[in-house]
């Protein structure tokens, strides 16, 4: 490091050399820098995952297309799913959590700053392992062999008999390593939220974002651990002669399904609860009203957390469970719609009687509300196990979970991005480009994922690299693919806005939204250690109390 700084020659200038700048970012344990690293890393992965999705959609634009081979297509959907879940959605939400939680609870950093850095770098290393499979997946025999077992990697397709070479090993290790990082982050979230809150901030006065991330943290520990265990078991099967999932030697393919989905379903809530948190911060500020029914929102989130641990086998209705098993998982899955519905109603209640400012963060949150409603309703259809026997494994279910992951989760992530960008960068984003981003992405989203339900109803299974003409699927697949190009245009507007705002954006000031939580009480971007003096709060909206001393919240809570 010393030689680098001499070489660049920072003698008189207080400016950093590139080496110092880089070292600063790589060795940082500051939660704000790590949060930004998480977010940038995830955005890069989002682009890669998006390219993979585009390749699949081009292949499916017409029946019997020859754009890519079946092998390449199978790698694309495996890499797309794995990337989007493990290396986009989770890390970007962890990034926002890492950045915001200490600021919002009035702390100077996370509880364990070094663990925080370790967690990020483990996640980043996991993603690198996954993508190294393109080079190293086939061992010494050649390049271009990524995992092709699907993102839930059902046994026995992952056994050495069916997955030769090392591509599946890279997949396993990537999930294993990033999973350990996720557990570290979850421990950090929980400890920070429980132990680092500023004076006066009782559990009942925490911002909802902190509450919801607390629940997420608990779910991550409960859900990712079995997945990590299953990956170790798979390694044992593949290299140490184990037979957990080796059906040729008495192992059980269904065991893997249980392990995977007891991770996989809570995982949906691991992803969506932080997005509920964003909506629960953005919607009140842009409606100029406090969140409607705060205690009910907390209770509903905790209820979702508990019930989400008992619904996993609704991904397995077609595996031939007994009628009692199917009935049980039908009822638990349907029950989860009640607390979820309560949350939607409370957001509507928050907007009711407010003065809704339709800026980009709020537009994305309103998009989220509409799309999450529909995702929830198709979810109810899928929860009815006989109906599920028809819909599961088809394009209907693909459309359903993209409605959740893109329509709800990605939309709120974009909303959160525009909402907190001024805080993170100190500059205002470009409203015109942000609105162009919203409208293009909205049109593309609906073209793609609304019409994707239909081929599923008409009998088109997922994960097929091509399909037969004349089954009524052609026109829908064409429309779905056209939608992708609108989404790409939207993302280009997003990237353009991001770059423009980074360099040309207007200074944002400390509190551009006239908001109420503690992160807006410090400078933009916040200084090292966030607060010169640790704040003391008396209500859930400390800045409201400050701005309205005649009508403070603590009188009513």
């Amino acid at each position: 490091m010393a030689s680098e700084s001499i070489a660049i020659g920072a003698i008189d200038e207080p400016r950093q050399s590139i080496g110092e700048w880089l070292t600063g970012w790589v060795t940082t344990v500051d939660h704000k820098r790590l949060g930004i690293l998480y977010i940038l890393y995830s955005l890069l992965m989002l682009v890669i995952g998006g390219v993979e999705a585009t390749i699949m959609r081009i292949q499916l634009i017409v029946p019997h297309n020859h754009f890519v081979s079946p092998e390449v297509f199978n790698r694309m959907f495996t890499m797309h799913g794995t990337t989007m879940i493990f290396f986009v959605a989770m890390p970007i939400l962890f990034g926002f959590g890492t950045y915001l939680i200490p600021l919002m609870v009035g702390a100077r950093d996370m509880a364990f700053p070094r663990l925080n850095a370790l967690s990020f770098w483990l996640t980043a290393f996991g993603g690198s392992l996954l993508y190294f499979s393109f080079v190293g997946g086939n061992g010494l025999y050649g390049a271009g062999n990524a995992p092709d077992v699907g993102w839930f990697a059902y046994a026995p397709l992952t056994s050495r008999a069916f997955s030769v070479g090392h591509s599946t090993d890279f997949w396993t290790l990537a999930i294993l390593v990033s999973g350990i990082g996720s557990i570290g982050t979850a421990v950090n979230f929980i400890t920070t939220i429980l132990c680092m809150r500023c004076p006066g901030m009782t559990l009942g006065k925490m911002p909802l974002l902190a509450w919801l991330n607390l629940v997420t943290g608990g779910l991550v520990i409960l859900a990712v651990s079995p997945l990590t265990a299953a990956q170790i078991m798979l390694c044992v099967d593949r290299y140490l002669g184990g037979h957990f999932f080796d059906t040729q030697a008495g192992g059980s393919a269904v065991l893997w399904m249980h392990f995977f989905w007891i991770f996989g379903h809570p995982e949906v809530y691991v992803l969506v609860i932080p997005c509920f948190a964003f909506a629960s911060e953005i919607i009140p500020v842009f409606s100029r009203k406090p969140i409607f029914g705060y205690p009910v929102m907390v209770a509903a989130t905790v209820a979702i957390g508990f019930v989400s641990m008992s619904v996993w086998a609704h991904h397995m209705f077609a595996i031939g469970m007994s009628s009692y098993g199917n009935t049980f998982f039908t009822v638990t899955t349907m029950i989860i719609s009640v607390p979820t519905g309560i949350k939607i109603f409370n957001w509507i209640g928050t907007m009711w009687g407010g003065k809704i400012l339709l800026r980009a963060p709020m537009l994305f949150c309103i998009g989220f509300l509409f799309q999450f409603l529909i995702a929830g309703l198709t979810g109810i259809m899928l929860s009815s196990s006989p109906f599920n026997w028809q819909l599961t494994g088809s394009y209907f279910v693909v459309a359903h979970f993209h409605y959740v992951i893109v329509g709800a989760i990605l939309f709120t992530i974009f909303g959160a991005f525009y909402y907190w960008f001024p805080k993170m960068s100190g500059r205002m984003y470009h409203e015109g480009l942000a609105q162009a981003h919203f409208w293009l992405f909205l049109i593309g989203f609906h073209l793609t994922f609304d019409f994707m339900h239909i081929p599923g109803i008409l009998g088109m299974p997922r994960r097929i690299y091509t399909y037969e003409p004349g089954r009524g699927w052609d026109i829908w697949n064409l429309i779905v693919t056209i939608g992708v190009f609108f989404q790409i245009a939207g993302v280009l507007a997003f990237v353009a806005g991001l770059l423009w705002s980074m360099f040309k954006g207007q200074p944002a000031g400390d509190d551009p939204w006239d908001a109420w939580t503690l992160e807006w009480s410090t400078t933009s971007p916040p200084p090292d250690y966030n607060f010169a003096t640790i704040p003391v709060v008396e209500s859930r909206r400390p800045l409201w109390d400050l701005k309205h001393p005649e009508d403070p919240d603590w009188k009513y809570e």
Binding site: L157, I342, E468
Partner: protein, 344 residues
């Protein structure tokens, strides 16, 4: 935008029944068998309830966004700060709870009626075995073995003759899905699953593997031929006839050569032709190959040209198929094709 969304989702939810197009479209909304029909009935209730919820909540959202958006002449004052309401919260907890109860009871009935349906004495038994990337069908009571094209008798609701299918897998996971006949049931190695169908009309019903099973998952197609009882019995009788144990007098030279090539190369490691030395089990039984309309698990129609192309280079029709190209000479290729064409 709101109007567009209403249009799109209105047509999706209310009008999804209209997407049940012509006969060759395997739509779940054109059921032709009791399990698919029960699901169709249940889906009406589910779609009606979710459609009503959608209409109410969607309208509410549109109303709120339009009514409470900030106007241009806004005075900048904060609106009344409302923190919540226990009565309202209770209402939107209890009402969804009741809806869930109704949905659950209706669903439970259908689960039990399909999964725990009694098996009539005159039901046909079929064992379906999933292979990478084709279907093996065995009729243990009838002594018939075939592939990819399942023949079952039509079932008169007054005197049902359903087909009970035992689902096994030889390698990876697969899923048996013929949307017009029944929902999916997976074929999982080291596990025995069951499903049943009782098609009400004759005809061909299309389906395909619905659980990712490897490279050629996409071309693991499935056809169910629902025959009248007479046709089905004739089909069974014809399928039970073994091939001639040795070359017959009427055979042309090409057929005799083809038979010799077939029986002296690796073909017989995987394929069976009953009555001959060929008794492989890895690939489809070819005893009555020419009685099938398709080859390569439905990937191509069963014409002499396609058959020849398939034997010459399986990857040309189905890249990633486990059948190897045998590198036969042109003469041997023609001869084997000619021989296979005699397997009726």
């Amino acid at each position: 935008m709101a109007r567009l969304v209403v249009l799109v989702f209105g047509s999706f939810f209310a009008g999804s029944l209209a997407f049940a197009g012509p006969n060759d479209i395997p739509s779940i909304f054109r059921p032709s068998s009791t399990p698919a029909d029960s699901i169709f009935g249940l889906s009406h209730l589910v779609l009606a309830i979710t459609g009503c919820i959608f209409a109410v909540v969607f309208s509410l959202m549109v109303y709120v966004v339009l009514k409470f958006r900030r106007r241009s002449g806004d005075d900048g004052r904060e609106p009344p700060q409302v923190y919540g309401s226990n009565q309202v919260e209770l209402a939107w907890t209890v009402i969804p709870g009741l809806i869930v109860l109704v949905l659950f009871l209706a669903t439970a009935r259908v689960i039990l009626s399909i999964q725990d349906a009694p098996r009539p004495a005159n039901a046909i038994d079929v064992i379906a075995i999933g292979h990478q990337y084709w279907w093996e069908f065995r009729y243990p009571g009838l002594g018939v073995v075939t592939a990819n094209e399942l023949h079952v008798p039509v079932s008169d609701p007054a005197n049902p003759t359903p087909t009970f299918i035992t689902l096994l897998s030889a390698d990876t996971d697969h899923s048996f899905w013929v949307p017009q006949l029944a929902g999916k049931t997976d074929l999982i190695p080291n596990r025995t699953n069951h499903t049943w169908i009782d098609p009400h009309t004759t005809g061909i019903f299309l389906g395909q593997c619905a659980q990712y099973c490897g490279v050629q998952h996409a071309k693991m197609l499935l056809r169910v031929y629902v025959d009248s009882h007479g046709d089905f019995d004739r089909w069974v009788q014809q399928q039970k006839i073994a091939a001639a144990p040795a070359a017959a007098n009427g055979d042309t030279d090409a057929v005799q050569t083809g038979r010799r090539v077939f029986e002296s190369t690796a073909c017989i490691n995987c394929h069976a032709v009953s009555g001959t030395v060929a008794n492989g089990r890895f690939g489809p039984d070819l005893t009555h190959l020419m009685s099938r309309d398709t080859i390569a698990s439905g990937a191509a129609t069963n014409t002499p040209e396609n058959l020849r192309a398939w034997i010459q280079k399986p990857d040309s029709i189905k890249p990633g198929s486990l059948m190897p190209a045998m590198n036969l000479t042109k003469q041997d290729l023609d001869a084997v094709t000619a021989y296979l064409e005699t397997l009726r």
